[in-house]
Protein backbone atom coordinates (compact mmCIF):
# COMPACT_ATOMS: atom_id res chain seq x y z
CA UNK A 1 0.00 0.00 0.00
CA UNK A 2 1.23 3.49 -0.90
CA UNK A 3 0.91 6.09 1.83
CA UNK A 4 0.76 9.86 1.56
CA UNK A 5 3.58 10.98 3.81
CA UNK A 6 1.81 14.23 4.73
CA UNK A 7 -1.17 12.44 6.30
CA UNK A 8 -0.90 10.48 9.57
CA UNK A 9 -0.45 6.80 8.74
CA UNK A 10 -3.00 5.59 11.30
CA UNK A 11 -5.62 7.75 9.56
CA UNK A 12 -4.78 6.20 6.17
CA UNK A 13 -4.98 2.69 7.63
CA UNK A 14 -8.47 3.51 8.93
CA UNK A 15 -9.51 4.68 5.46
CA UNK A 16 -8.07 1.48 3.98
CA UNK A 17 -10.07 -0.71 6.37
CA UNK A 18 -13.24 1.35 5.76
CA UNK A 19 -12.81 0.66 2.07
CA UNK A 20 -12.20 -3.06 2.56
CA UNK A 21 -15.47 -3.21 4.56
CA UNK A 22 -17.50 -1.10 2.11
CA UNK A 23 -16.46 -3.18 -0.93
CA UNK A 24 -17.16 -6.32 1.11
CA UNK A 25 -13.65 -7.75 1.03
CA UNK A 26 -14.02 -7.66 4.81
CA UNK A 27 -17.50 -8.99 5.47
CA UNK A 28 -19.65 -8.42 8.58
CA UNK A 29 -18.33 -10.69 11.33
CA UNK A 30 -15.01 -11.34 9.52
CA UNK A 31 -11.83 -11.61 11.58
CA UNK A 32 -9.04 -9.11 10.92
CA UNK A 33 -5.45 -10.35 10.59
CA UNK A 34 -3.30 -10.10 13.74
CA UNK A 35 -1.87 -6.64 14.42
CA UNK A 36 1.73 -7.60 13.64
CA UNK A 37 0.67 -9.40 10.47
CA UNK A 38 -1.16 -6.27 9.30
CA UNK A 39 1.88 -4.16 10.17
CA UNK A 40 4.15 -6.35 8.03
CA UNK A 41 1.64 -6.34 5.17
CA UNK A 42 1.27 -2.55 5.19
CA UNK A 43 4.98 -1.96 6.07
CA UNK A 44 4.19 0.19 9.07
CA UNK A 45 4.86 0.24 12.79
CA UNK A 46 2.82 -2.10 15.02
CA UNK A 47 1.90 0.91 17.24
CA UNK A 48 0.40 2.68 14.23
CA UNK A 49 -1.82 -0.29 13.35
CA UNK A 50 -2.77 -0.55 17.02
CA UNK A 51 -3.87 3.07 17.07
CA UNK A 52 -5.96 2.69 13.89
CA UNK A 53 -7.65 -0.46 15.20
CA UNK A 54 -8.43 0.98 18.62
CA UNK A 55 -10.11 3.98 16.97
CA UNK A 56 -12.16 1.59 14.81
CA UNK A 57 -13.13 -0.27 17.98
CA UNK A 58 -14.19 3.03 19.58
CA UNK A 59 -16.30 3.82 16.51
CA UNK A 60 -18.03 0.45 16.93
CA UNK A 61 -16.87 -0.78 13.51
CA UNK A 62 -14.62 -3.48 14.97
CA UNK A 63 -15.56 -5.69 17.91
CA UNK A 64 -12.63 -7.06 19.89
CA UNK A 65 -12.96 -10.56 21.34
CA UNK A 66 -10.66 -11.27 24.23
CA UNK A 67 -7.78 -13.46 23.12
CA UNK A 68 -9.22 -13.96 19.64
CA UNK A 69 -8.65 -10.67 17.85
CA UNK A 70 -10.78 -8.05 16.14
CA UNK A 71 -13.93 -8.76 14.13
CA UNK A 72 -15.99 -6.57 11.80
CA UNK A 73 -19.25 -5.67 13.51
CA UNK A 74 -22.38 -7.56 12.47
CA UNK A 75 -24.52 -4.55 13.38
CA UNK A 76 -25.79 -3.60 9.93
CA UNK A 77 -26.91 -0.11 11.01
CA UNK A 78 -23.30 0.70 11.97
CA UNK A 79 -22.08 -0.49 8.56
CA UNK A 80 -24.77 1.44 6.70
CA UNK A 81 -23.79 4.52 8.66
CA UNK A 82 -20.11 3.95 7.83
CA UNK A 83 -20.87 3.73 4.14
CA UNK A 84 -22.88 6.95 4.29
CA UNK A 85 -20.14 8.71 6.25
CA UNK A 86 -17.37 7.71 3.79
CA UNK A 87 -19.44 8.66 0.73
CA UNK A 88 -20.36 12.00 2.30
CA UNK A 89 -16.69 12.64 3.01
CA UNK A 90 -15.92 12.31 -0.69
CA UNK A 91 -18.91 14.42 -1.70
CA UNK A 92 -17.93 17.13 0.78
CA UNK A 93 -14.59 17.55 -0.98
CA UNK A 94 -16.25 17.88 -4.40
CA UNK A 95 -18.86 20.26 -3.00
CA UNK A 96 -16.29 22.52 -1.35
CA UNK A 97 -14.13 22.70 -4.47
CA UNK A 98 -17.07 23.50 -6.73
CA UNK A 99 -18.37 26.06 -4.24
CA UNK A 100 -14.96 27.75 -4.37
CA UNK A 101 -15.52 28.08 -8.11
CA UNK A 102 -18.86 29.79 -7.26
CA UNK A 103 -20.92 27.00 -8.78
CA UNK A 104 -24.44 27.04 -7.27
CA UNK A 105 -25.96 23.85 -5.80
CA UNK A 106 -28.46 23.61 -8.69
CA UNK A 107 -25.63 23.91 -11.21
CA UNK A 108 -23.71 21.24 -9.32
CA UNK A 109 -26.58 18.80 -9.73
CA UNK A 110 -26.77 19.62 -13.43
CA UNK A 111 -23.01 19.21 -13.97
CA UNK A 112 -22.94 15.99 -11.98
CA UNK A 113 -25.88 14.47 -13.84
CA UNK A 114 -24.34 15.33 -17.21
CA UNK A 115 -20.98 14.01 -16.13
CA UNK A 116 -22.43 10.71 -14.95
CA UNK A 117 -24.27 10.30 -18.26
CA UNK A 118 -20.99 10.90 -20.10
CA UNK A 119 -19.17 8.30 -18.04
CA UNK A 120 -21.96 5.79 -18.61
CA UNK A 121 -21.70 6.28 -22.37
CA UNK A 122 -17.90 5.97 -22.30
CA UNK A 123 -18.10 2.67 -20.47
CA UNK A 124 -20.51 1.34 -23.13
CA UNK A 125 -18.06 2.08 -25.98
Amino acid sequence: MEFDDKVPIYYQIKQYIYKEIIVNRLKPGAKLPAVRQLAVKLTVNVNTVQRALSELVNEGILKPQRGKGNFVTTDISVLVDLRRRVVEGQLAMVYDRLAELQITPDEMIQYLTNYIDQRKEQSHD
Binding site: F3, D5, K6, V7, P8, I9, Y10, R36, A39, V40, T43, V44, N45, V46, N47, T48
Partner: protein, 237 residues
Protein backbone atom coordinates in the same frame (compact mmCIF):
# COMPACT_ATOMS: atom_id res chain seq x y z
CA UNK B 1 6.12 4.33 33.00
CA UNK B 2 9.58 5.81 33.20
CA UNK B 3 11.72 6.38 30.15
CA UNK B 4 13.89 3.60 28.77
CA UNK B 5 16.80 5.94 28.08
CA UNK B 6 17.57 9.38 29.50
CA UNK B 7 20.60 11.37 28.37
CA UNK B 8 21.43 14.59 30.20
CA UNK B 9 23.93 17.28 29.15
CA UNK B 10 26.10 14.91 27.18
CA UNK B 11 29.32 16.32 25.74
CA UNK B 12 31.97 14.30 23.96
CA UNK B 13 35.36 15.09 22.47
CA UNK B 14 37.73 12.91 20.50
CA UNK B 15 41.30 13.96 19.70
CA UNK B 16 40.60 17.51 20.98
CA UNK B 17 37.73 17.68 18.52
CA UNK B 18 34.24 18.35 19.90
CA UNK B 19 31.67 15.93 18.48
CA UNK B 20 28.65 16.36 20.77
CA UNK B 21 27.75 19.33 23.00
CA UNK B 22 25.14 19.53 25.79
CA UNK B 23 22.95 16.89 24.24
CA UNK B 24 19.83 15.80 26.14
CA UNK B 25 17.11 13.38 25.06
CA UNK B 26 14.82 10.66 26.35
CA UNK B 27 13.55 7.54 24.61
CA UNK B 28 10.32 5.80 25.69
CA UNK B 29 9.69 2.07 25.79
CA UNK B 30 8.06 0.41 22.79
CA UNK B 31 8.86 2.84 19.99
CA UNK B 32 10.65 3.04 16.65
CA UNK B 33 12.58 6.29 16.49
CA UNK B 34 14.49 7.81 13.59
CA UNK B 35 17.81 9.49 14.39
CA UNK B 36 18.28 11.95 11.56
CA UNK B 37 21.21 14.15 10.67
CA UNK B 38 23.71 14.88 7.91
CA UNK B 39 26.79 12.70 7.51
CA UNK B 40 29.23 13.62 10.26
CA UNK B 41 26.55 15.09 12.52
CA UNK B 42 27.51 12.65 15.28
CA UNK B 43 24.78 10.00 14.95
CA UNK B 44 27.16 7.04 15.06
CA UNK B 45 29.10 8.57 17.95
CA UNK B 46 25.86 9.04 19.90
CA UNK B 47 24.99 5.37 19.33
CA UNK B 48 28.46 4.28 20.48
CA UNK B 49 28.04 6.32 23.63
CA UNK B 50 24.60 4.83 24.36
CA UNK B 51 25.90 1.32 23.69
CA UNK B 52 28.84 1.82 26.06
CA UNK B 53 31.53 1.38 23.40
CA UNK B 54 32.69 5.01 23.77
CA UNK B 55 33.17 6.08 27.37
CA UNK B 56 35.11 9.30 27.94
CA UNK B 57 32.16 11.68 28.02
CA UNK B 58 30.70 14.38 30.26
CA UNK B 59 27.09 14.21 31.38
CA UNK B 60 24.84 11.28 32.13
CA UNK B 61 23.51 8.34 30.10
CA UNK B 62 20.93 6.38 32.01
CA UNK B 63 19.45 3.22 30.50
CA UNK B 64 16.79 1.57 32.64
CA UNK B 65 18.36 3.26 35.66
CA UNK B 66 21.83 1.91 34.89
CA UNK B 67 24.64 4.37 34.13
CA UNK B 68 27.74 2.13 34.06
CA UNK B 69 28.99 1.64 30.48
CA UNK B 70 29.73 -2.06 31.01
CA UNK B 71 26.15 -2.76 32.15
CA UNK B 72 24.63 -0.64 29.39
CA UNK B 73 26.71 -2.63 26.88
CA UNK B 74 24.94 -5.82 27.89
CA UNK B 75 21.50 -4.19 27.58
CA UNK B 76 21.82 -2.86 24.03
CA UNK B 77 22.02 -4.67 20.70
CA UNK B 78 24.03 -2.41 18.39
CA UNK B 79 24.45 -3.14 14.67
CA UNK B 80 28.01 -1.80 14.73
CA UNK B 81 29.18 -4.50 17.15
CA UNK B 82 29.74 -6.70 14.08
CA UNK B 83 32.45 -4.39 12.78
CA UNK B 84 35.13 -5.90 15.03
CA UNK B 85 34.73 -9.46 13.74
CA UNK B 86 37.27 -11.40 11.69
CA UNK B 87 35.92 -11.09 8.11
CA UNK B 88 37.11 -14.62 7.28
CA UNK B 89 34.64 -16.21 9.71
CA UNK B 90 31.67 -18.19 8.43
CA UNK B 91 28.24 -16.82 9.33
CA UNK B 92 27.34 -19.83 11.45
CA UNK B 93 30.65 -19.50 13.33
CA UNK B 94 29.78 -15.88 14.11
CA UNK B 95 26.34 -16.99 15.33
CA UNK B 96 28.00 -19.63 17.56
CA UNK B 97 30.30 -16.93 18.93
CA UNK B 98 27.37 -14.63 19.70
CA UNK B 99 25.56 -17.53 21.32
CA UNK B 100 28.50 -18.02 23.70
CA UNK B 101 29.12 -14.34 24.44
CA UNK B 102 25.59 -12.96 24.85
CA UNK B 103 23.23 -14.73 27.26
CA UNK B 104 20.29 -12.95 25.57
CA UNK B 105 21.17 -14.34 22.11
CA UNK B 106 18.60 -16.88 20.90
CA UNK B 107 20.13 -19.18 18.31
CA UNK B 108 16.77 -20.52 17.10
CA UNK B 109 15.60 -16.96 16.38
CA UNK B 110 18.80 -16.25 14.48
CA UNK B 111 18.23 -19.33 12.31
CA UNK B 112 14.67 -18.25 11.55
CA UNK B 113 15.76 -14.71 10.71
CA UNK B 114 18.60 -15.99 8.53
CA UNK B 115 16.22 -18.27 6.66
CA UNK B 116 13.70 -15.50 6.19
CA UNK B 117 16.42 -13.20 4.85
CA UNK B 118 17.77 -16.01 2.63
CA UNK B 119 21.28 -16.06 4.05
CA UNK B 120 23.68 -18.93 3.36
CA UNK B 121 25.34 -19.60 6.73
CA UNK B 122 28.22 -21.52 5.13
CA UNK B 123 29.46 -18.30 3.51
CA UNK B 124 32.20 -16.19 5.02
CA UNK B 125 31.55 -12.60 6.07
CA UNK B 126 33.90 -11.23 3.40
CA UNK B 127 32.13 -13.24 0.68
CA UNK B 128 28.82 -11.44 1.19
CA UNK B 129 27.39 -8.78 -1.09
CA UNK B 130 26.58 -5.44 0.55
CA UNK B 131 22.90 -6.37 0.69
CA UNK B 132 23.61 -9.72 2.36
CA UNK B 133 25.98 -8.06 4.84
CA UNK B 134 23.17 -5.70 5.85
CA UNK B 135 20.73 -8.61 6.15
CA UNK B 136 23.17 -10.61 8.25
CA UNK B 137 23.65 -7.59 10.53
CA UNK B 138 19.88 -7.41 11.05
CA UNK B 139 19.63 -11.15 11.77
CA UNK B 140 22.41 -11.12 14.35
CA UNK B 141 21.24 -7.86 15.96
CA UNK B 142 17.62 -8.99 16.40
CA UNK B 143 18.50 -12.51 17.57
CA UNK B 144 19.47 -10.84 20.84
CA UNK B 145 16.50 -10.14 23.12
CA UNK B 146 17.09 -6.71 24.62
CA UNK B 147 15.10 -3.56 25.30
CA UNK B 148 17.07 -1.24 23.04
CA UNK B 149 18.26 -1.87 19.48
CA UNK B 150 20.54 0.60 17.73
CA UNK B 151 20.65 0.34 13.94
CA UNK B 152 23.24 2.57 12.33
CA UNK B 153 22.34 3.32 8.69
CA UNK B 154 20.91 -0.17 8.11
CA UNK B 155 19.95 0.54 4.50
CA UNK B 156 23.11 2.27 3.31
CA UNK B 157 24.04 1.22 -0.22
CA UNK B 158 21.45 -1.52 -0.80
CA UNK B 159 18.70 -2.00 -3.37
CA UNK B 160 14.98 -1.59 -2.72
CA UNK B 161 14.23 -5.35 -2.65
CA UNK B 162 16.70 -5.93 0.17
CA UNK B 163 15.50 -2.79 1.92
CA UNK B 164 11.94 -4.12 1.91
CA UNK B 165 13.02 -7.48 3.31
CA UNK B 166 14.97 -5.78 6.09
CA UNK B 167 12.07 -3.49 6.97
CA UNK B 168 9.70 -6.49 7.12
CA UNK B 169 12.12 -8.25 9.50
CA UNK B 170 12.34 -5.19 11.73
CA UNK B 171 8.53 -4.98 12.02
CA UNK B 172 8.19 -8.68 12.60
CA UNK B 173 11.02 -9.18 15.09
CA UNK B 174 10.85 -6.12 17.32
CA UNK B 175 10.00 -7.46 20.79
CA UNK B 176 6.78 -5.91 22.04
CA UNK B 177 8.20 -3.53 24.65
CA UNK B 178 11.55 -2.90 22.96
CA UNK B 179 12.64 0.39 21.38
CA UNK B 180 14.57 0.71 18.13
CA UNK B 181 16.69 3.73 17.28
CA UNK B 182 17.46 3.86 13.53
CA UNK B 183 19.90 6.37 12.08
CA UNK B 184 19.47 7.40 8.50
CA UNK B 185 20.25 10.37 6.35
CA UNK B 186 17.65 9.34 3.77
CA UNK B 187 14.47 9.41 5.86
CA UNK B 188 12.03 8.45 3.08
CA UNK B 189 13.12 4.81 3.45
CA UNK B 190 11.74 4.55 6.93
CA UNK B 191 9.22 7.40 7.28
CA UNK B 192 6.22 5.03 7.53
CA UNK B 193 7.90 3.08 10.29
CA UNK B 194 8.63 5.84 12.76
CA UNK B 195 6.82 6.83 15.95
CA UNK B 196 9.18 9.76 16.48
CA UNK B 197 12.11 11.52 14.90
CA UNK B 198 15.15 13.09 16.52
CA UNK B 199 17.19 15.61 14.54
CA UNK B 200 20.90 15.95 15.30
CA UNK B 201 22.55 19.14 14.11
CA UNK B 202 25.30 21.47 15.36
CA UNK B 203 26.60 18.71 17.68
CA UNK B 204 23.34 18.39 19.59
CA UNK B 205 19.67 17.40 19.42
CA UNK B 206 17.75 20.27 17.86
CA UNK B 207 14.34 18.59 17.69
CA UNK B 208 12.43 15.55 18.87
CA UNK B 209 8.87 15.19 17.59
CA UNK B 210 6.18 12.56 17.11
CA UNK B 211 5.63 11.53 13.48
CA UNK B 212 1.86 12.03 13.79
CA UNK B 213 2.36 15.54 15.20
CA UNK B 214 4.57 16.47 12.23
CA UNK B 215 1.90 15.29 9.80
CA UNK B 216 -1.18 16.47 11.73
CA UNK B 217 -0.10 19.78 13.24
CA UNK B 218 2.61 20.94 10.87
CA UNK B 219 0.98 19.36 7.80
CA UNK B 220 4.42 18.25 6.63
CA UNK B 221 5.99 15.03 5.47
CA UNK B 222 8.78 13.77 7.72
CA UNK B 223 11.20 14.49 4.90
CA UNK B 224 10.08 18.14 4.57
CA UNK B 225 10.26 18.54 8.34
CA UNK B 226 13.80 17.18 8.41
CA UNK B 227 14.90 19.28 5.45
CA UNK B 228 13.50 22.44 7.07
CA UNK B 229 16.43 22.28 9.51
CA UNK B 230 18.89 22.64 6.65
CA UNK B 231 17.26 25.52 4.81
CA UNK B 232 19.66 28.39 4.25
CA UNK B 233 22.77 26.49 5.21
CA UNK B 234 23.43 24.43 2.10
CA UNK B 235 26.97 25.74 1.84
CA UNK B 236 28.21 24.99 5.32
CA UNK B 237 27.03 21.75 6.77
Amino acid sequence: MTDLLAIKDLSYKRNMHTILTDLSLTLPHNAIIGLLGANGAGKTTLMRLIAGSATEFHGEIRLNDETAASIRKSMVSFSEQLAGLNPGMKLNQIADFYDRVYPDFVRADFDKLAQQLELDLQKRLNQLSKGNQRKFTIAITFARHVQLYLLDEPFNGIDSMNRKKIIASIIQWKPEMATILISDHHVTDIANLLDQVIVVQHQTVVAQEKADTIREKHNQSIEDYYESFYEGENEHD
